[in-house]
Symmetry: C2
Subunit: 335 residues, 2 copies
DNA sequence: GGAGAGGTCTGGAACGGTCCAAAGAAGGGC
DNA sequence: GCCCTTCTTTGGACCGTTCCAGACCTCTCC
């Protein structure tokens, strides 16, 4: 009842197991009739090679571990898609681990990847436990995607240019005539960079005085709360630039609840251009962060690094693009 | 530069490799001082067991393959979460493959799982290639989750009771006073079942004559288009029950675009209670399909089936629950 | 003091592939 | 017909574990 092995195939085809192995790996050095005999035996027995045996012998697994921050964040899923496409094309499989689960179990997930002897690791997004990435990176080729940390020797970083993206969003709002603009900030390095871009542009336009920053988080709830605080303040902004689309949607809800119309009373910009922003009912102006593209680049970086593990780590930034939709407009004339 | 093996550990600790193996597997039959020596050597060398070697010898991988329809559908992600939690607790890893990718490459993904000798397979949602599930199921314990097909011998099915869910939604609308109700139908068995539930309730209330079914698909776009058609027809419905939340959001957009207010002019019910429906700005009345729970159950079924591969396939349905939010209300009094 | 019974520990055979050196077969040239 | 070269094919070692039968201790008991 056991699955057939290469020896079973060899016996059936009347050849040695080595020859079967040669045929299966596509060697040219095999006479056509033997090749046919082997392939026929494979077919008849329904033989499938055993990946564990193969990788034990070859000392590689053709598998890449992906440590993901949060599958619920659509942007990460997009990135993952790009990653998969590129890796698959190079004959590498992808083993996905959701980081939230991993935090519960300490650095267990990187342990798992180490035991599996994955050929490489991609860490996507800001992970709960950066130390785990460090130890993992010491053992296998590693690329960080979609965020700028942790910065480690021999680890590549592939991410969007968050500061530039924030500049685009802010300049768009200023170009429309807004002066009093608020930013709902996110956490981590990415949050920091987007905030910095926002503040820099405001400063360049002499608007530092009317720039507000309110701390949120990456969720709708956070965006909602931050916006309620912003709009409840005495001198309310006419535009809000949110850390990401989820927070942007939260802001949308808050505005609506307070009786403000978007974009007439309040302009709103999100970030990431996830499918949320594309929903017609939301139709959020946002910054396209090219998730798919970043995924592909990260995959290529990893392939390079697997080929040459000692190459110095590089930082590659992708330029984001503004995507203007329905939630931004000139401010209403002053009353 | 190779990672240390069990032999390296044995040498360092001054014992045999067999003893190291015993210690690592937690045997009680080892004297404490030897155990300490082994663990110290493991620590010093940074030893990690090689999963490939282990599974080759043990003839199992402690890994479950998950064939997923679409990572972009939040409901599936929720299901996945439940699945992971339960499997992880039982010491099984999860290997995720996105089906869309697989379709491009034929039944390649099940091949991959076969080669990896995963201990079991979970097929989530309606997959592009049902034949692949059939061949896979012949080789390994298999559970279908989140849909009702394909029905195969020795394969368990764990899903929501779609017909019941549709009944709940429809009865809710009728209870509010709606008479002319439309349904945006989905594809596959799940679409079929929800439509059937809708039609049955309409019939029971003598409303067959004012029940409309419009074909959509699982996306926002599909829901939007279907709703535009519905609302453009001469005798427009006062309520729409959509196949899922995505389609429901599309319907929301269509209604808005045509100048109808939800829920005053049009009531709307979705399905799945994904986080989309929970976004304050959408606040969609929907049917909670207990994705997490279904995931957990599917995992348990698979564990049972791994323990006893010959047990006959069962169908387990989870009862959904109506989640009333802001998109349903009594119809406006007739003009 | 010797037999028997545990409790500990070990060597070697799997597991199912890849890889390599060498054997065997087939053709070419003289 | 023999030697040399070039293709084909093969046996056996190896990859890093687990598993098992048996060896080796150390007691206990008579």
């Amino acid at each position: 009842m056991r699955p057939p092995t290469i020896r079973d195939v060899a016996e059936r085809a009347g050849v040695s197991k080595s020859l079967v192995s040669l045929v299966l790996r596509g060697s040219e050095q095999v006479r056509p009739e033997k090749r046919r005999a082997v392939l026929a035996a494979v077919e008849e027995l329904g033989y499938r090679p055993n990946a564990a045996a193969r990788s034990l012998s070859e000392r590689r697994t053709r598998t890449v571990g992906v440590l993901l921050n949060d599958l619920r964040n659509p942007w990460f899923v997009e990135l993952l898609d790009g990653l998969n496409a590129e890796l698959y094309a190079s004959g590498l499989r992808t083993l996905l681990a959701d980081g939230r689960q991993g935090r519960r179990l300490g650095e267990d997930l990187t342990h798992t990847f180490t035991e599996l002897r994955v050929d490489g690791l991609i860490a996507v997004g800001t992970l709960p436990d950066p130390a785990a990435v460090r130890t993992a990176a010491a053992r296998m080729p590693t690329v960080v995607a979609g965020t700028r940390e942790p910065v480690l020797p021999d680890v590549d970083i592939v991410a969007g240019d968050d500061e530039l993206g924030a500049r685009l969003a802010t300049e768009h709002l200023i170009g429309l005539g807004h002066r009093h603009i608020a930013h709902i900030a996110g956490r981590g390095v990415v949050g920091e960079l987007r905030r910095r871009g926002f503040e820099a542009v405001m400063r360049e336009h002499g608007l530092s005085g009317s720039a507000t920053v309110e701390q949120g988080d990456l969720t709708e709830e956070g965006g909602y709360r931050a916006t309620v605080r912003l709009l409840g303040a005495p001198h309310r902004p006419t535009a809000v630039f949110a850390f990401n689309d989820m927070a942007g949607v939260g802001a949308l809800s808050a505005a609506e609840e307070l009786g403000l119309r978007v974009p007439d009373d309040l302009s709103l910009v999100g970030y990431d251009n996830t499918y949320l922003a594309r929903l017609r009912h939301l139709w959020l102006t946002t910054v396209d962060n090219a998730g798919h593209d970043i995924g592909r680049r990260a995959a290529r970086r990893l392939l390079d690094r697997i080929a040459d593990p000692a190459r110095p780590g590089e930082v590659a930034l992708t330029a984001p693009a503004l995507e203007v939709r329905g939630t931004t407009a000139p401010p209403r004339p002053l009353d």
